[in-house]
Amino acid sequence: MNYSLEIKNLRKEFKGFTLKDLNIKLEPGFIMGFIGPNGAGKTTTIKLIMNLIKKDGGQIKVFGKDHVAAEKEIKDRIGFVYDENYYYEDLSIRQMKNIVSKFYSKWDDNQFNSYINEFDLNPKAKIKTLSKGMKMKFSLAIALSHQADLIIMDEPTSGLDPVFRRGILDILYNIIQDENKSIFFSTHITTDLEKIADYITFINDGEILFSEAKDKILDSYRIVKGSTKMLEGNRDKFIGLRETDVGFEGLTNNINQIESSFNNDVLIEKASLEDIMVYSIRGE
């Protein structure tokens, strides 16, 4: 099986921060969301995949090929959207596009123009006049206009309003109709992932907490609410707890145990991705 993206035991050391034991696999035709708090290592991981910084250990393969040995070939097929965008501020969108498009063997100008139109951007506008959101839209237009087989994005929708974000989700859904294409993106906006993601990888403090099918994750966790006295002897059943004067709220991934310990005396609800993220990190 040729994974679109395959990361094995990836390691990168910085002073004061280490990324270690990273293992991620993404098959063609699927969307993987990459979540974690600020500083967890998401951007570092993406920079390592793109060989913008050098790894200290492990293996990264894109389309089955080593990401360094086949770098040029691979990058021709990757649509990349990065948080900081390095464009020549004095050039216009069109001029910048003319430069960047030369790097891609399958550049599609019609497609680019249609996105620019859809995103309401003026091709003659200088990059320095664009807002953060507009720059992001420009990056997206470039990434989506060269028949990329893998789209890698680092926080592509931060700074964009919910209306536009939904529009991006629609575009991503359309791309994934082609079962040979994949999408890997990091985001804080977990509600976007709750809809569209097939897989979720959760990273914290340089390590992966889980990398699983989204449905499986959402099926395994629950939010439990009840009165504080019920917690006696039961605290260890929760991954994270929030106790107040009027009761407790906790996250569990052991639904059966909770149901048998508490019967119907507690309220059990689905946990959102945000709940899972926050409780897993805050702990008790």
């Binding site: 035709g29 359309n174 109709q177 993601a197 099918a213």
Partner: protein, 124 residues
């Protein structure tokens, strides 16, 4: 074909999809040979993961309701009518069993139950 998903229901989404498609087939709104939406198209329309739609279709195929052909898509399966009838008869039998049990517990005799059923048959 309409599929309406509830995000707040306790029933898993893949189950909602397979139930609704089964219902459409049993009611005759989907016929033998009808083409179902692709798993990816359905995922996009419902704004859910393709893994979910695939799971729903896998279950429908396991239970004999649909057939998937590589490269062509998923179709409502053929030998449905007999299967459907048998399933429906089984459901009716189970419900009648319940009625018999409850009636006996209540002390009703057969004629009283029959009378009730007669009225209902006329109303339905």
């Amino acid at each position: 074909m309409n599929i309406i998903i509830s995000n707040s229901s306790n029933e898993p989404i893949y189950e909602q999809i397979s139930s609704q498609i089964k219902e459409l087939i049993l009611r005759g709104e989907l016929d033998e040979g009808d083409l179902l939406p692709s798993i990816r198209g359905l995922a996009r329309d419902l704004q859910i993961s393709v893994i979910t739609t695939k799971r729903a279709y896998d279950e429908l195929e396991r239970e004999g309701f649909i057939q998937t052909m590589q490269g062509k898509g998923s179709y409502v399966a053929g030998q449905n009518k007999e299967l459907m009838k048998e399933k429906k008869l089984k459901i009716i039998e189970e419900k009648l069993w319940e009625i018999a049990e409850e009636s006996k517990l209540l002390g009703l005799n057969y004629e009283e139950v029959e009378a009730m059923l007669k009225i209902l048959f006329e109303e339905v």
